[in-house]
Amino acid sequence: MAQFSGCPGSRMVDFREKSEPTKEEATGKIQSQLRQWPIQLHLISPTASYYQGADVLLTADCVGYALGGFHPDFLKGKSLAIACPKLDEGQDIYQEKIKSWIDDAKINTLTVLIMQVPCCMGLLNLAQQAAREAKRKVPIKYVVAGIQGEILKEEWA
């Protein structure tokens, strides 16, 4: 088979055969942990009440579909924004909004949750750049999810 040479973020992978039910599969209705609207980074106001002093989760769009335990494991107790560092336009506005979270909303922490594909690192870079430009300092954690829902990395930036 010829080796794939295109963008790793667009590479086709079929893992249907591996997706057998496991003992961890949820059997009941899973409670949503979302506690705000809107969530898209262009639509949110960084100074909205639910961001004030909050633990904020900034997640790449695809993460919510890849991680089976997204709501209980990552979203619970946090305020959310989503974005795609590859496809979204106006990312300078994203940077300003992240800076405003830190300086104006005085968020407690920022967790950046991205996929393993290389382009997703852009979201972490954006957050780190905004944090460097902000007057306040906050701890930034980043988590990298694999395309089959596994956690590949979780550390403080």
């Binding site: 633990d55 407690n108 922490t109 701890p139």
Partner: protein, 277 residues
């Protein structure tokens, strides 16, 4: 075996001395600990050895306790599988580790200062007073206060590890008090004795914190608690704004002076985590 896992390390080692050497071989240096209240099972859990190494170590300990018997070894509780030994701290823990570096530079200077120390000279008495000021202001009021008044509050005060660290701080303060009394009496021997004991105590204490306690605490803090602690540390730093620069300058000045005197700074490099310069 289960019963021994629930006993303090001091009791286990007292009854079975070879256990100390076995633990030491796996990087668990609890033998010389002055307090020794931690339970064997907690010690094994906190060090989070790779599963294979833990099984092997526990097997050897079981053979010391129950020689020749086939023993079922219970697996200790752990939050996550052990990772390779590269330590990554959360931002507030990283601040504590960075502050340790300055304290270790002071500890490394002590053996350079002591041989020529002459307490008949006002200059040398002032040097010791300045060293005591560094210990009391930077190491204790600034750094240990962050640990005792902020970090430890996130954990059960009866946790053995927290008690041990708190005891070390108290012992260190007693050494400092003895140094202060002795320097005014020009009692060189007592100053040297307590400064050396302080150095040994703090060197071990910092090593335990950097390698064991802080990583373990990091694993047990939520993201929200890390953020809260980071803010509280920043408040302390703002309140004591001048401390970091003042005491960095003090240590740099001493290092320059002792370099000029041709003192070999090998001992500085021997303390873990210190780079020369």
């Amino acid at each position: 075996m289960e019963a021994y896992l629930n006993r303090s390390i001091k009791e286990v080692i007292k009854e079975f001395p070879p256990v100390e050497k076995i633990l030491d071989e796996y990087g668990i240096g609890c033998g010389p600990c002055a307090v020794g209240l931690c339970l064997l099972k907690d010690i094994v859990s906190i060090h989070n050895l790779p599963a294979e190494e833990e099984r092997e170590m526990m097997g050897r300990i079981a053979q010391v306790i129950h020689p020749g018997q086939e023993i079922q070894i219970p697996r200790t509780e752990r939050k996550a599988e052990a990772q390779p030994k590269e330590l990554k701290y959360s931002p507030p823990m990283k601040k504590l580790v960075d502050e340790h570096v300055l304290i270790k530079k002071w500890l490394a200077l002590i053996p350079e200062i002591l041989p020529a120390l002459n307490l008949e000279s006002e200059e040398d008495r002032q040097l010791i007073r300045d060293g005591v000021d560094f210990i009391r202001s930077y190491a204790d009021r600034f750094h240990h206060a962050k640990e005792e008044e902020i970090l430890f509050k996130y954990f059960d005060e009866d946790l053995d590890m927290v008690k041990v660290m708190g005891e070390d701080h108290k012992t260190a303060r007693n050494h400092v008090k003895a140094i202060v009394d002795a320097v005014e009496r020009k009692d060189r021997e007592t100053v040297a004795q307590h400064l050396t004991a302080y150095r040994e105590l703090l060197s071990q204490h910092i090593k335990r914190e950097d390698e064991i306690m802080l990583p373990w605490m990091d694993q047990h803090l939520s993201v929200s608690q890390v953020g809260e602690m980071f803010s509280k540390f920043l408040e302390v730093e703002e309140r004591m704004d001048s401390y970091q620069k003042k005491y960095e300058d003090f240590i740099s000045r001493l290092e320059r002076e002792y370099r000029k005197k041709g003192v070999n700074h090998g001992s500085i490099q021997r303390l873990p985590g210190l780079q020369d310069g």
